[in-house]
Symmetry: C2
Subunit: 480 residues, 2 copies
């Protein structure tokens, strides 16, 4: 043991070990393409390599860091590999990682304005910037009655929107009296599972979630929505919330916001728009059509931690009417009272989400926006979309393959023209090869491959290699 | 501009800028005592210093980092200052900060086992370690039917416990049919505001939250709980959840777990124990009495991000019956299906909490446990308690002051023997001085000062200085 009991790491030691970790990360990125993208660990392998009991005495930092490479790395699925095409990306970048480091170093809480004014004010500013950068309606900015807040994930943002909708529909009485089984929420059959989870958490019950049918592009059918709302009203129920998706997880479908928004306005329902991944595309004027109709939305979220080079977690959640959100979540125990809050001149973000404590996440977002600038971010988004579009074209040009859905942005859904089993085999073989990682979905009852381009360092060569690997692998599939 | 559009930070640049940030943090800790602990910024000051619009082109990392000191630091309330005695601590440490950095660098998602097996398996292992370190009942370990998971905050953990309780009480039917206004939850008048927030979110309604009276030590009265449950049953309601606190936020009161547990077992209610800050004290055998009675609990949480040198966020949430928790949250869209999950041999932590995405938080916790070892952590906990106990003694020995509540651990509630207004003035003058930061509460209707010792680097001299400053400041209070 080279440490006496109870010594903290001194600033001098922090400098030394901090450099070791920085170097470790830099080296990780230099050699990231040498690892199999999907971890090849078997269940229990990593745990079996760890000591059964926690250490009685402290260990040297060197020993700990060494074990990260030795014990942890084999169990890592490399989300930051440029050969990662699975799910949606959760990309990151140098400025973001260093912003996160700084946030951890400062270690402040942003639950109240007073507990670190910069944590709140930078967040408000950066979210107003983003509203402009995506050309969101003015009402989502803090200068009016709305505003943005950083949530951990779109799951939490959607839940927050649903809760605000629930309270608005019942004059804030559900918070007081509880749900009574009459509130109804709407989304499409293609919406993210987080909507289902939110409906359960908020006490509405799954039987009151309507999964509206989609068209042949997997987009919600407004007529079906309208019809269902009418039927529910006739049945004495209280429609309160519609969640539309800009870029569904399965196939990147774009729900028709203008039509859905019109229905929500007519019917007086809260209209939430989930643009978790695809919202980022609106950085570029040529893709802003995806948010057309957002004027009639009550809330919107997108995740810089997916496709905007900001490491997880960082979901940006905007509301048009912040008072409704605040009133939904507001709590005021004595030990949190303070003059600044009572002056009404500040935001206390604890009342904008589920948690009380919150870290300084605006810092990393600020770092990313400044380091890249609007033009830098646009450049990369365009590159990713261009690569995905090339991939989609190659799929179409190869007789053995077909597209399974429109590919408007950076996700391509496709399949080998064979059986579902063969397509499943194809995914498994590709992922087991370690050369790339992609995942699947089911569209129209058919097993479908998903290829999403969004990792920070993905370039032409990675997409070309992936396509070659796919072409090569289909030759090895078992006959039907 | 020294950067071309669209260039990412190269590993070599990351090494250079990473060192700059590491040095910045080391220097911050070296000079942290020179800053006023509570930020002296006025509302709007930080925002006013920021550019109105986001940058069109990227900026150099040096320029960004410089602005942190110039624009952000004046708006920071220094939670990591050894003169921070406010709220509960949210402490941090070198190994934890570097663990967070590494986690940001790896940038993996732990929503499914398969999306990074090490993220899940290290978490399970470290939480089992912690169960042993706090001498929790065996049932909370993953080797049996229970297990632990890292949540962001105790707010989310309590909400998760309440949701599981709600589902257990209704045979998982509330998820399907929604709340019907009959489920009732119980906690004490002194419980954290997050219980109130959870009851609202989960759709029970505040009218179904019973705030049970406390005794003269601010601990829940089991007889009153028992009586209330009986009355609610007679009224046709369905009692489902009791949350007891080990170390309330106001005054560090310890609810009597054995008696409350007995009632919960008799009545068949879910028994949750919130030890957000004080749970850490159970690292030391001599303080384990605070968790006596935990054998009958269904869930327990404590926050290493409060008092265990692990930067926010890191709440450890343990359940005795993981199946109930998992069934409460479970969702299974096609795009998340995979062989490992279907084998049943792995945990998918997405089903243990609200969010889907999750970062690799076990890494920083593992770093802390290994760097300090059990003995190192015990040493610091004992030091903090010793310092708080000295402070409590000084209060008692000074005729001008009195203790306002028992001080079993590291929080001292006290007041100047004057008016509420004078005590409020005292807090304001102390905080405005910049020499320290403490906050207040109200106990038995009286304005009360809270002094909590828990920041990583707080030593004897800081507590002595604080007491001297308090003694000196009372001399300057306006007459009643």
């Amino acid at each position: 043991m080279d440490k006496k009991i109870g010594f903290h790491m001194t600033p001098e030691e922090f400098r030394r070990h901090g450099r070791e970790v920085v170097d470790w990360i830099a080296e990780y990125y230099e050699k990231i393409e040498t690892f199999p993208v999907l971890s090849q660990a078997y269940p229990g392998q990593i745990r079996a390599s760890l000591p059964k009991d926690p250490p009685l005495q402290g260990e040297s930092f060197e020993a700990i860091l060494q074990d990260v490479g030795r014990l942890i790395l084999p169990g890592i699925t490399h989300w930051q590999s440029p050969n990662f095409f699975a799910f949606f990306p959760a990309n990151a970048s140098g400025p973001s990682i260093l912003g996160e480091l700084l946030s951890a170093g400062l270690g402040v809480q942003g639950m109240l304005w007073a507990t670190s004014p910069a944590c709140t004010e930078l967040e408000t500013q950066v979210l107003d910037w983003l509203a402009d950068m995506l050309d969101l309606p003015e009402k989502f900015k803090s200068s009016g009655k709305g505003g943005g807040v950083i949530q951990d994930t779109a799951s939490s943002a959607s839940l927050s929107a649903l809760l605000a909708a629930r309270e608005k529909a019942t004059g804030f009485q559900t918070n007081q009296k509880g749900c009574d089984g009459r509130l109804v929420a709407y989304t499409s059959t293609q919406a993210h599972s987080s909507i289902e989870k939110a409906v359960k958490i908020a006490g509405l019950g799954l039987k009151n979630l309507r999964l509206i049918a989609v068209d042949d592009r997997f987009a919600m059918q407004p007529a079906a929505l309208s019809l269902q709302i009418g039927q529910d009203r006739q049945a004495g129920l209280i429609p309160c919330f519609v969640s539309a998706t800009v870029g569904t997880t399965s196939s990147n479908a774009l729900d028709p916001l203008p039509e859905i928004g019109r229905i929500c306005r007519q019917e007086g329902l809260w209209f939430h728009v989930d643009g978790a991944m695809s919202g980022t595309a609106a950085l570029c004027p040529e893709y802003r059509y995806i948010l057309k109709g957002l004027e009639s939305a009550d809330s919107f979220c997108f995740n810089p931690h997916k496709w905007m080079f900001t490491n997880f977690d960082c979901d940006c959640f905007f509301v048009a009417d912040r008072e409704t959100l605040i009133q939904t979540f507001s709590i005021l125990p004595e030990y949190l009272r303070n003059k600044a809050s009572e002056s009404g001149a500040v935001f206390d973000y604890r009342d904008w989400h589920i948690q009380l404590g919150r870290r300084f996440r605006a810092l990393k977002l600020w770092f990313v926006l400044r380091y890249y600038g609007i033009e830098g971010l646009q450049y990369h988004v365009r590159q990713h979309i261009k690569l995905a579009q090339s991939f989609a074209r190659w799929v179409q040009e190869d007789d053995r393959f077909e597209l399974a859905a429109p590919a408007p942005l950076n996700l391509v859904c496709f399949r080998y023209k064979g059986s579902d089993e063969q397509n499943q085999q194809l995914v498994e073989k590709l992922n087991q090869s370690g050369a790339l990682y992609l995942t699947h979905t089911v569209l129209n009852g058919r097993y479908t491959l998903r290829f999403c381009v969004g990792q920070t360092n993905t370039e032409d060569r990675h997409v070309i290699q992936a396509w070659e690997k796919i072409q090569e692998t289909v030759k090895t599939l078992s006959a039907e």
